[in-house]
Amino acid sequence: ATPANALVVAQNIDDIVSIDPAEAYEFSSGEYVTQTYDRLVQYDAPDVKTLAPGLATEWVADDAARTITFTLRDGVKFTSGNPLRAEDVVYSFKRVVALNKAPAFILTQLGWTPENIDEMVKTDGNKVVVKYDGDFSSAFVLNVLAARPASIIDAVTVQANEANGDMGNAWLKANSAGTGPFVLKTFRPAEIINLVANPDYFGGAPAMKTVIIRHVAEAATQQLLLDTGDVDIAKNLTPDQIKSLAGKDTVKVETYPQAAVHFLSFNQKDEALQPEAIWDAARYLVDYKGMTDSFLKGQMQTHQAFWPSGFPGSLDDTPYSYDPAKAKQILADAGIKTPIKVTLDVINSTPFTDMAQSLQASFAEAGINFEIIPGTGSQVITKYRARTHEAMLLYWGPDFMDPDSNAKAFAFNEDNSDDNYQSTTTWRNGWAVPAEMNAATKAARAEADPAKRNEMYVDLQKKVQEKSPIVVMFQAATQVALATNVEGYVNGATSDFVFYRLVTKK
């Protein structure tokens, strides 16, 4: 069993490449950044759905001047003991832009460049003035500044640990320099993250003196560790394992809907997949219920629009269900000769291979025969990026919690040419989005009235749902198994919203 003031978590963390907030771009590193850093504004525990003050206590937005002025919280100290200053904020943002690592685009979309960043972000005593440039509202900008790369770091400490002009990048891969509720004690890749509490945290000291995240790749091993009480939380159990935990009184299971949506898409660079009848038929060939009732149970729910349910602007209708007869009819009406052979690329781990096999069986009913090509994550993405796949089974999570993040991915593609590489689902599937849909996406982004904006997104989702080579099928949920005495664990819709600071043990 684990001590009363320590929390041990079993989790697969081998995805972590970097824990520098300017570079951290994986699920597990997102969780880490949340524990150790704060942003000016943030979605915070316990209410992860509302944007709340972080290191800034208040802010004034001037949409006309495209400026937001943040007032910093008083008396906040970094875990190094240095006080928080406006200069730290400026340095943090500048650093992200200058390093230009993977997540930098989240900030640079505000029109920031290494050249103009000194103009765009300025100090004003205890205040920080942030400018932006582009057709979007301040609501969008606040969401961007609540995202991971906008975390505020301790400029003094980081600069002291700079080597070869890396702005402390190497040092931050082994240390934390934030204001967050925890401080990094040890990080060994694919082995352990050891965090200790920050007693001076402005939101109150965490009850747990230590939080240890152990890398445990094997689900069965996680289950054994939880059974024996050597860990308090197991994060990667399968639905079937979760089911077997049902009767136990030492363990409880909690389910948290996630922002990621799972979809099946057809590459439009392949002529055979261009007929709309194939897109239409596909929507009737997914055994939504069969899968969510069995091997996806609890970890995915049927969801057929690109913005996840539970967030403003979502479209929760699920008009399609498994109906092979109808699909056959659609194909026949369009004069499409079956059977047709299509390759289906899929990541070779559960539950993706199971989903692929289920799709293979159900699509075969209408004469669409999938040949499954399993591959590692990077292999699949490499192929996807090169647009050489035929059908693809994959998922998409928003980069930050704004519907535009997904709208851009699913309903926007102005230039489908091969050399205009975009990471969007539309471009990668070679789908030249109709002009009016592109326009609608842009308009929604620029809309300042939240209610109207949400409506515009619902509308956009309906269109994509009806006619697109992308079949959104499920929205993910994460199921976490906890020892019954663990309380106060908060898990929001993305890994950025996992909080250990309120955890207590009875």
Partner: protein
């Protein structure tokens, strides 16, 4: 009748090549039959072959037929080995999987063993630089992490059993080359090889016609013993999702998929596991038996 056939077979003075060959084969079989483990091994392999041939007749279900309502059922009257995560009948999948296993095993044996045999014999026979170069390459392949090599190849060629087979073959040939070389070195200077060289035989003729036949028995022994390893390597590739493509009922992939169920639905991983264990044991027993019978050190004299 049977007595006379037997007498014909074990005749000390066969009157034709055919009789001599059959006689030799018969002697080996007879010696094998006296070895209980070898008999057990042979029976298992025979069962595997028959199962592979008659799979559709033996299977009770369609191995690919999913039924999500019937998933993860324990072994019972309907599903002898239970059902898997997609509600497929495990017994039928194991039965059909015999075909894949057999293909893998045979293909590797056909690709890797002869390649290793010839390279090793050539290296050993010529010695000098030929030997140094061939064995250098062999050493390189031997010291490459095996699974990495296989993974890289599968990753490069794409998944699927054919490529898994090629990958496994490429990782196994160096071991055979080493054995063949060692054997060749022991024969190379023997007088019967000198005698055939004196007759003006070309190097190719000496190697193919005279050196290789002597290495084959140890090679056969080694290959049968390695079969278990080959099946397990294929399973290892399956474990990492790089073996046979789903939904093919490859045993290794089945175990790999079933391992998350091992604590609660033990049969999903264990049933194909049993199949692997039994077949591997079969090959091992046979190999062990062959060792006793074919080993040139003991067999030649009797």
């Amino acid at each position: 009748m049977s007595m006379t056939v037997r007498a014909w077979l074990i005749d000390d003075s066969p009157s034709s090549r055919l009789q001599a060959r059959l006689g030799r084969a018969w002697r080996i079989c007879a010696a094998l039959m006296r070895n209980p483990l070898a008999v057990a091994g042979a029976v298992i392999i025979l069962t595997l072959v028959l199962t592979a041939i008659f799979a559709p007749l033996i299977a009770t279900h369609d191995p690919l037929k999913q039924d999500l309502a019937q998933r993860l059922l324990p072994p019972g009257a309907m599903n002898w080995m239970g059902t898997d995560e997609l509600g497929r009948d495990i017994w039928s999948r194991v039965v059909h999987g015999a075909r894949i296993t057999l293909v893998i095993v045979v293909m590797v044996a056909v690709l890797a063993a002869p390649a290793g045999l010839v390279l090793g014999a050539v290296a050993g026979y010529f010695g000098g630089w030929t030997d140094r170069i061939i064995m250098g390459v062999t050493d390189i392949f031997l010291s490459l992490p095996k699974l990495i090599l296989a993974l890289a190849l599968v990753a490069a060629l794409g998944p699927g059993i054919e490529n898994a087979v090629i990958a496994i073959a490429i990782t196994t040939w160096p071991a055979y080359a080493r054995i063949a070389r060692a054997e060749t070195l022991t024969f190379k200077n023997s007088e019967f090889i000198a005698a055939i060289r004196l007759q003006g035989a070309s190097a190719a003729r000496v190697i193919l016609g005279h050196v290789l036949p002597l290495c084959t028995s140890s090679m056969i022994i080694r290959v049968t013993l390695d079969m278990a390893g080959i099946i397990l390597t294929a399973a290892g590739l399956g474990f990492l999702g790089l073996g046979a493509q789903p939904p093919l009922p490859e045993w290794g992939a089945m175990i790999a998929r079933g391992r998350t169920f091992i604590l609660d639905q033990w049969w999903v991983a264990t049933m194909p596991g049993f199949a692997i264990v039994i077949v591997s044991l079969g090959f091992c027993f046979l190999g062990d038996g062959l060792r006793d019978v074919l080993d040139p050190k003991s067999g030649g004299q009797q």
